[in-house]
């Protein structure tokens, strides 16, 4: 491998882009595929797409008997919750166990207290101040759970613009209908709006805040693991 390829790989990693190093182990030839640059013309695109989703490194033997090794490097997934509410108190430790780097944002200082959220990064600020510090991207999921448009709307719009792998919003269908109207007024188109998961969470008949947290986390996980599939199917 050339130092130039390794430098590109390390830079992509620092910038939180998904990359795959493709090595022909017989010839020693190495090349780098950066997900955001696209790979539609790549002869291995099916294999690459599956591995960008699963994150699994591994070998493939082609029909001609050549062995190709894929080193997959995905950024660690993050989850941002807007709203330091009861559901978030249950979701924070669960998401952490499931491997997500969590951040909770809520400008209401009565909600966003370290007593209620031990061991979780907590920003008691408005989303327009806090989100630029967090830096939304395709490996970040975001859920809004405050029920307050003043707090939720900006974060929702930003998460759609940043192509977050998951965008969820708590609230009834009626609440969500009004929310969609407000977001349209902010210039978000219908394709983008359709990416919002609302009502939030997989339908598991959740009742308690902890059960709703399970439903949300499951929805976040399925979105992470099917990441990019819908977009590619729509384009095909």
């Amino acid at each position: 491998m050339d130092l130039a390829i390794l430098q590109k790989l390390n830079q992509a990693r620092r910038e939180r882009f998904a990359v795959i190093l493709v090595t022909d182990t017989a010839s020693g030839a190495v090349r780098l595929v950066v997900e955001k640059d696209g790979y539609d013309g790549d002869p291995l695109r099916e294999e690459l797409a599956a591995r960008f989703r699963s994150g699994a490194s591994g070998s493939v033997v082609t029909p001609s008997g050549e062995s190709t090794f894929f080193t997959v490097q995905l950024p660690p997934p993050r989850l941002v919750i807007i709203g330091a509410v009861h559901i978030s108190q249950a979701l924070a430790p669960m998401a952490k166990i499931a491997g997500f780097d969590m951040t909770i944002i809520d400008p209401r200082t009565a909600f966003a207290t370290p007593e209620r959220f031990p061991d979780v990064p907590l920003l008691a600020e408005w989303p327009d101040v806090a989100l630029p510090k967090v830096g939304l991207d395709a490996f970040t999921g975001l859920a809004v759970v405050t029920h307050d448009p003043k707090i939720d709307d900006y974060a929702l719009a930003e998460s759609l613009r940043a192509n977050c792998f998951y965008v969820g919003a708590l609230g009834s269908r009626k609440t969500h209908g009004k929310r969609l109207e407000r977001l349209r007024a902010l210039g978000i188109d219908d394709t983008q709006l359709a990416r919002i998961h609302a009502p939030i969470g997989l339908p598991i008949q959740a009742q308690s805040p902890a059960e709703i947290a399970v439903a949300v986390l499951a929805e976040v996980i399925v979105s992470l693991r099917s990441r990019g599939r819908q977009a590619r199917e729509a384009a095909a």
Binding site: D2, L3, L6, Q7, T25, G58, F69, P76, P77, A98
Partner: protein
Amino acid sequence: MTAQTVAGADLDVLATAEAWRKAGRDVAIATVVETWGSAPRPVGSHLVVDGEGNFEGSVSGGCVEGAVVGEAIDVIAAGKAKMLEFGVADETAWRVGLSCGGRIRVYVEKLA
């Protein structure tokens, strides 16, 4: 997620490889490309080795690193990549076998 944490740690190893090469050191990168049975480190794990035998990272949690470092120094000298295999079924089991009973295949390449 453990896998992601491990991947993150591995990337530090790749950052080390870049830093060492930029500092003018000869560098080889070893990568676990296949595992069978209970292997201690997952596919994609890296070990970086320099020409003096200094290393960072791991491909087996300590079982066969010594042997991989030796082979990596040869790869640095020869400039040609090499595929290594370790396991209890190997005739060298007593020297560099995996105590867990698994087998691993490790690809070693020079960083040019």
